[in-house]
Structures are given as structure tokens and as C-alpha cells.
Amino acid sequence: MRFDLPSPDNDTQEFWDGARDHRLLIQRCGACGDAFFYPRPFCPKCWSEDVTTEEASGDAILYTWSVVHVNDLPPFHERVPYVAAIVDLVDGPRMMTNVVDCEHDDLAVGMALRVSYRELTPEVTVPVFVPA
């Protein structure tokens, strides 16, 4: 039993396929130029269906984080302590992720981050971030 695997749907399969190929994908509206997340087939600002998927730059700024010491759900309980984080991609959208390869004392709001990848299973890889 594990609680960390996504169940992609039509709108999100592309994101998870991209992550498996080490590409962080976001979407951009051709009509108004807005970049958005989570993925959907139309723009949430102007509702245009002229939406293209693009690879994000991979650069992000740390908005906030928490060092998780306790979580009794598998497999998180085997990972503690780990860093859950919300980052603002320089491309615009915000996402939940993890910061890895960083001393907890070095974490700071506003720090520059760079995307990296962690394989959960042969099918599922998640984008995570490391200090830039």
C-alpha cells in the first residue's frame, strides 16, 4: 500500500509523461499568453482552447517550505525527515514539490532553485528542486 502515486487523466497524462522524460511541462495560452498550472484543455483566464504545452525553464524561487518529521502514511513515513515545498516557477505558475540535496538550515524563502527528478517507479517520476 502506498499513497504517493498519481492517477493521471486525459488532461494530466502529458505532464506525467514529460516528468518521466525529465521535462517539466507547463501550459501557455496562445490567445492571452498566460502560463498556467494545473494542466487543462482551455485557458483559465480567457477560456481559449488555443493551449500549447511547453517545457518550463526549470528555474524557480522558494515560496515556502516545511520539514516533515511525522507522517504515518506509506511511503512518506520512510522518507522523514524531508522537505515539502511550494515554489514559484520563473515561468509563472506555482507548484507543490520537494527540495532535495539541501541542508535544512540552508532553506530560505526566496532562494533560487533548479528542477531535478526523482523516480518513484519505472512509470512515475516527480519533478523536485535543488538549490540553484
Binding site: 502515486l5 520539514v67 518529521h69 515539502a84 511550494i86 507543490m96 516527480v126 523536485v128
Partner: protein
């Protein structure tokens, strides 16, 4: 007040009675029985009988993981053999007290006269020794795999599976933007423990000092064990009545001065713009447009504390202090004490008296306005109270006044 008075429909609603079942960490009692205990107690408190109840409202209805709901609309309707003219129950509410707001609107619209509103939980018993995995969807199974769909696929694969972590990140951001400290945040938990000691139904009643709080193990930084509420078993019910039924009631009812349930911006745990705050600030702003009363008129505040930081968001969102200034407001704990300027969570909140999931707050607001608080009664005859529920993207609040 910016809203025209004749548009403030909720003032045709009053709260005529409240009730509660036994409350405990793990009672191992039939969940529907707990629910019915609370409902019958509330009906009796109002001076009514089941024959008078013609409306039903609840959150979240008969849904959710094991332990989350002790009884939905149909369960209670049938168990009490009621004749109802209106009912509603659901999960997509602006916080748990959205069910009470719905009831206010139903009586205000003339659809019914006395609405039974309840929320009951048995998360304590349901978790047993299995921890939270036992009450997650798919929990208890060792063979099937849980798959995160919908918005949860943007949280669970990133090891952010629970509100403890989401709220912890909000707190961290607040600490960063405003200089808030654990010593300040800890006053919420310490204050709740003091109040629970005066509440016969409190769950954790042993004294806890700020040093005890600071020494507790971390759950998700900056939140420690005592920043997290405690799962429990218990039911809470309130009766919302139409104002023209006051002569039929046992005691002067609590008046509903104003309600609000706003979420401006993205309804999301991770995509709301200002995650040093929550839509509590949107609901608070809307509430004060519907009354001439001011935050300084409030004599006690019962505000959601599923995690202590949620109360911080409500303190600021309701305007009891300026945005970003909850830390200094809480410093030393005197302002929020029973004899302070804003007695807070006077029954011990969910932190020390159990996760009754929002309804404990409206129950306590009414108890205080009726002067029935016993050892924990706020001094000097409180006349105005707020009850606030919900965290993250959900927020609902009611401003209540003494009816006599």
C-alpha cells in the same frame, strides 16, 4: 455596514438550542447513536420536540472516509421519524459551518421553521491503532494501491499528503513575512489547554506550559505536536429557527447578526495567492459589510484550530488585529485569555477538546452568550460572539448576539 438592511436575510434566523453527545478520544459507540444524542439534546434545549423539526442540514452528509461522518441526512431523517419540508447535506461547503448558514437561509426564505443542523465524527475510534492510513480512502487494504487523482495528484506525489504539511507551509511563510515566532504561535495551544481544564468535556485537561509546547516534537516545521488538533468521537447539533417562532422557544434565542462564506481567488490548498493567509480574510471582510458591529464589539471568539495557524489566519482575517500582526497580538497570551480582551476558544478548541470539526465553535459561542459556560464562562455577560470554521480554501463565519 455597506449592505442594505433588508438584504441581510440571515437576521430572520435565530439559534434556539444546542446539543452535544458524549465526547471522547475513542468511545467505540455507534456513530449514529452519538449523532442522535446530540440532535435530541439540541431539540430539548430549544424547548421543541421532533414534531417541530421541519428542516435538516448537515456537513458533510453520509460521505467521506471511515470516521468522517457519523450520519447523513437520510440516516437522521429516518432515525428520528421526521417530517421535513427542506433538507440539504454535502461536502462542497465553505467550511463546516456552511451547513448552519444554509439553515439560516432556508428559514429566512420561509421554507421551514426549525432546522436541525449537525456534525458528528468518530475519527478517534475509526483510527484505532491503525493511524491515519486506516481512515484514508483505500486504507486498511494491503493489496490494492491508492491512486491520487484530481488535485491530490499535485500534492501526494510530492510527499505533501496532509493538511498538517500544507498549513505548516503557510505558517512558515507567515513567520518569514511578518517575523512571527513559535513562542507567539504557541499561545494558542497553551490558551486552549487552560480552557479545556475548565471544560468537563475537554479531552486534554492536564496543564501545559509554553516550555512544554516548545519542547514538543516537531510534526511538520514550524508546527509541533501541540499545534495539531486531536481526532475524537462526538456529535454536535444546533437548532436554527425562524424569528417568528421565538414565543414557542424555551429560552431567549441567540440572534444571527450576520454570516459570511467567501473565497476570493483560487480555491486551492497550494494555488491561493497569499499563502501567509487564507480565505478566512475574504469571509471576514464580507462579514463586516453586513453589520454595524465592529471587531472591537466582539466579546468572545471561537475560531477554527484544526492547526493553530488556522486560528492565526482567522484572527487577522476577522480584523481582530491587523494583517501580519497576529504574532504580537498573541504575545504573552493575555489578550486571548478568558479574562482578556478577546477570549479565544473558551472550550479548549479542537486542540485540547477534540476535532468536532467546526461545530464545537458555534456550540461554544452559544453556550457563552447564554451564560452557561460554568467554570469557563467568559466574565461580564458576553453579548457578541463569532464562530468561524474552515481552513485552507474553505471559510465560513457567523456573528451572533444575545437575544435577551
Amino acid at each position: 455596514m455597506s449592505e442594505a438592511t433588508d438584504l441581510i436575510g440571515e437576521r430572520r434566523a435565530v439559534i434556539s438550542g444546542v446539543g452535544q453527545s458524549d465526547i471522547g478520544r475513542r468511545l467505540f459507540r455507534d456513530p449514529l447513536e452519538l449523532t442522535i444524542d446530540a440532535c435530541l439534546a439540541a431539540i430539548e434545549d430549544a424547548g421543541l420536540t421532533t414534531a417541530d423539526i421541519d428542516g435538516l442540514s448537515t456537513y458533510p452528509g453520509a460521505t467521506g472516509p471511515n470516521g468522517f461522518s457519523g450520519g447523513g441526512i437520510t440516516d437522521v431523517h429516518d432515525a428520528l421519524r421526521l417530517n421535513v419540508n427542506w433538507f440539504t447535506g454535502g461536502l462542497e461547503y465553505p467550511g463546516q459551518l456552511g451547513a448552519v448558514i444554509n439553515a439560516c437561509l432556508a428559514v429566512s426564505a420561509g421554507l421551514c421553521k426549525h432546522v436541525l443542523v449537525w456534525r458528528s465524527v468518530y475519527e478517534g475510534s475509526a483510527q484505532g491503532s491503525g493511524g491515519r492510513a486506516a481512515v484514508m480512502p483505500g486504507g486498511g487494504s494491503t493489496t490494492t494501491s491508492f491512486k491520487a487523482s484530481g488535485f491530490m495528484q499535485w500534492l501526494l506525489p510530492f510527499s505533501a499528503p496532509s493538511a498538517a504539511t500544507w498549513i505548516a507551509m503557510y505558517a512558515q511563510r507567515h513567520f518569514h513575512e511578518y517575523g512571527t515566532t513559535r513562542e507567539q504561535l504557541g499561545q494558542i495551544a497553551v490558551n486552549s489547554r487552560k480552557n479545556a481544564a475548565l471544560n468537563p468535556k475537554g479531552i486534554y485537561r492536564d496543564p501545559m506550559s509554553l516550555d512544554d509546547y516548545l519542547a514538543a516534537r516537531m510534526i511538520s516545521t514550524p508546527l509541533c505536536l501541540y499545534d495539531c488538533d486531536v481526532p475524537c468521537d462526538g456529535g454536535t447539533a444546533v437548532i436554527v429557527s425562524r424569528v417568528d417562532t421565538i414565543p414557542d422557544l424555551r429560552k431567549p434565542p441567540i440572534k444571527v447578526e450576520a454570516v459570511a462564506a467567501a473565497t476570493h481567488g483560487r480555491p486551492s490548498w497550494d494555488q491561493y495567492d497569499d499563502l501567509a493567509s487564507m480565505p478566512a480574510q475574504d469571509a471576514g471582510k464580507e462579514l463586516w459589510k453586513r453589520t454595524d458591529l465592529k471587531p472591537s464589539d466582539v466579546d468572545c471568539a471561537q475560531m477554527y484550530d484544526g492547526f493553530s495557524f488556522i486560528t492565526v489566519a482567522w484572527l487577522e482575517g476577522m480584523g481582530f488585529c491587523k494583517k501580519g500582526e497576529a504574532g504580537p497580538f498573541l504575545e504573552g497570551g493575555q489578550r486571548i485569555a478568558l479574562d482578556g480582551e478577546l477570549p479565544l476558544n473558551t472550550n479548549g478548541g479542537q486542540l485540547s477538546s477534540g476535532r468536532l470539526h467546526g461545530f464545537g465553535f458555534i456550540h461554544e459561542a452559544c453556550v457563552q452568550l447564554w451564560g452557561e459556560g460554568g467554570d469557563r464562562q467568559v466574565p461580564n455577560n458576553p453579548e457578541v460572539a463569532v464562530a468561524c470554521s474552515g481552513g485552507g480554501p474553505m471559510a465560513s463565519t457567523l456573528l451572533l448576539t444575545q437575544g435577551r
